[in-house]
Amino acid sequence: MKNKFIIKINEKWCKGCNLCIEFCPKNVLELKDAKAKVVSPEDCIGCYICEYRCPDFAIEVNKVEEEVPVGSEKTNKR
C-alpha cells in the first residue's frame, strides 16, 4: 500500500530561493522562471524536507493514502 504525496507550490509566495530544491533528496523540484516547480512528483518520498526548509510557506507536502477516494473531503480541502 504505497503512499502518494501531493506537493503544492504557492507561486505567489514562492521567492525562488532555491532552498527546497537544494534540499530535496529526490530532485523532485526545480527552479523555473524564478519559482520552484514540481518536476518529478512520482519520486517524492514524503520526507517533508522541502516544506520545512521553505522560508515562505510556499510549499506543502500532503500525504494521500490510497484508500481515500479522490473527491473526499480530506483531499478536496486543498
Binding site: 532552498l19 521553505c54 522560508p55 506543502e60
Partner: protein, 292 residues
C-alpha cells in the same frame, strides 16, 4: 502538512512576506507557528511583540495580538502586557541588534526578573534592515558596512549573556535545525519564567554578500551549518576546535518561581490581610514621608 495546519496562525492576506528571497527569518517564523500549533495555543491568548528590524516584521504576519514597538524595546512592552495579562503567552521576537545592542539592558533584566516571556532572537549577526552594519553578534573579523576593515570587537554569546543574567530557560538552535527548532520554541513557550531561544540565521543580502558567501541562500545556510555544533558533538571537541562556533542545544532549564506568580501571591495575601490605614486617616503617610 504541519506547516499547513500551523498556517491558521498566519494573517494570510499579508503574505508573501517582505523578507528577501531566502531570508532565514521566514524559517524561524514557520517554526514558531508550528510551535504554537504543537501546543494548541488559542490565538486570543497570545501577544507577540517585536522591536524594529527585519525580524520586527514577524508580528505583522501572525494572527494574534501583535505589537511592533520601538527599536530594542520589545521586552519592556511585553513586560507590561504580561504583568496585566498573566494568562497570556507573551512572545518577544527580536533581531540580534534589537535584542542585544540597543535592547541589551531590557533583555538581561527580564532574565534577572524571570518574567514569563519567551524571547526569540533572530540572530543573523548583522543589521539586516538598515543595510548591513555590524551587530553585537557579528563574528570577529567579519565585514560589514561599518566594519570595512573587518570587525574588531568580539561578539556576544547570547546564551552566555542570558545565563549570566539569570534566565531560567536558555537554548540555542539554528535555521538548519528545523524541525528541531519547533520543539525548542515550544519548550520555551511552555517554560514558566523567562526563556531565551537564540536562533542562528542568515541574511544573504547584507551579510552573505560582504563575507564571501554571496547572496545565495544555500551558501549562507552552509555557513550556518559550519559554525554551529550540537551540544553533544561539542563535548568531544577541543577549545581550539570550538573557536568561532556556536553550540546548539538547551543550556539551562530550571524551575524557579517566576515573577508573575510571586506578584499574584502577594496580591492575594494582601487582599486578605490588610487595608492601607493611611487612606482612612492620612496619618501613616505623614509619618512615612517624614522618614525619607
Amino acid at each position: 502538512m504541519k506547516t499547513e495546519l500551523a498556517k491558521k496562525y498566519l494573517r494570510l492576506e499579508k503574505l508573501p512576506t517582505l523578507w528577501c528571497s531566502g531570508c532565514g527569518h521566514g524559517l524561524i517564523l514557520s517554526s514558531l507557528l508550528r510551535a504554537l500549533y504543537l501546543l494548541n495555543i488559542e490565538k486570543d491568548k497570545v501577544a507577540m511583540v517585536s522591536g524594529i528590524g527585519c525580524s520586527g516584521r514577524t508580528p505583522g504576519y501572525v494572527d494574534v495580538h501583535t505589537l511592533h514597538t520601538t527599536h530594542g524595546r520589545a521586552i519592556p512592552f511585553a513586560t507590561g502586557i504580561k504583568l496585566m495579562k498573566p494568562e497570556f503567552y507573551v512572545l518577544a521576537v527580536m533581531g540580534d541588534g534589537d535584542c542585544a545592542a540597543i535592547g541589551g539592558n531590557h533583555f538581561i533584566h527580564a532574565a534577572r526578573r524571570n518574567i514569563d516571556i519567551t524571547a526569540i532572537v533572530y540572530n543573523n549577526g548583522i543589521y539586516g534592515m538598515t543595510g548591513g552594519q555590524v551587530s553585537p553578534t557579528t563574528p570577529y573579523g567579519a565585514y560589514a558596512s561599518t566594519a570595512p576593515y573587518g570587525q574588531l570587537e568580539e561578539p556576544f554569546d547570547i546564551v552566555e549573556l542570558a545565563l549570566g543574567a539569570g534566565a531560567t530557560f536558555v537554548a540555542r538552535s539554528s535555521i538548519d535545525e528545523i524541525p528541531k527548532l519547533d520543539r525548542l520554541i515550544a519548550d520555551g513557550i511552555k517554560h514558566k519564567g523567562f526563556s531565551v531561544i537564540d536562533v542562528i540565521t542568515i541574511c544573504p543580502i547584507t551579510f552573505g554578500r560582504r563575507n564571501k558567501l554571496g547572496e545565495d541562500p544555500m551558501m549562507n545556510l552552509r555557513w550556518v551549518q559550519d559554525i554551529t555544533v550540537p551540544m553533544k558533538k561539542a563535548k568531544d571537541m577541543s577549545k581550539e576546535e570550538l573557536k568561532g562556533k556556536w553550540i546548539t542545544g538547551i543550556f539551562r532549564d530550571e524551575d524557579k518561581p517566576n515573577l508573575i506568580d510571586l506578584y499574584l501571591e502577594l496580591n492575594k495575601k494582601l487582599k486578605h490581610s490588610m487595608v492601607d490605614e493611611s487612606s482612612k486617616e492620612g496619618v501613616e503617610d505623614v509619618r512615612r514621608q517624614d522618614e525619607t
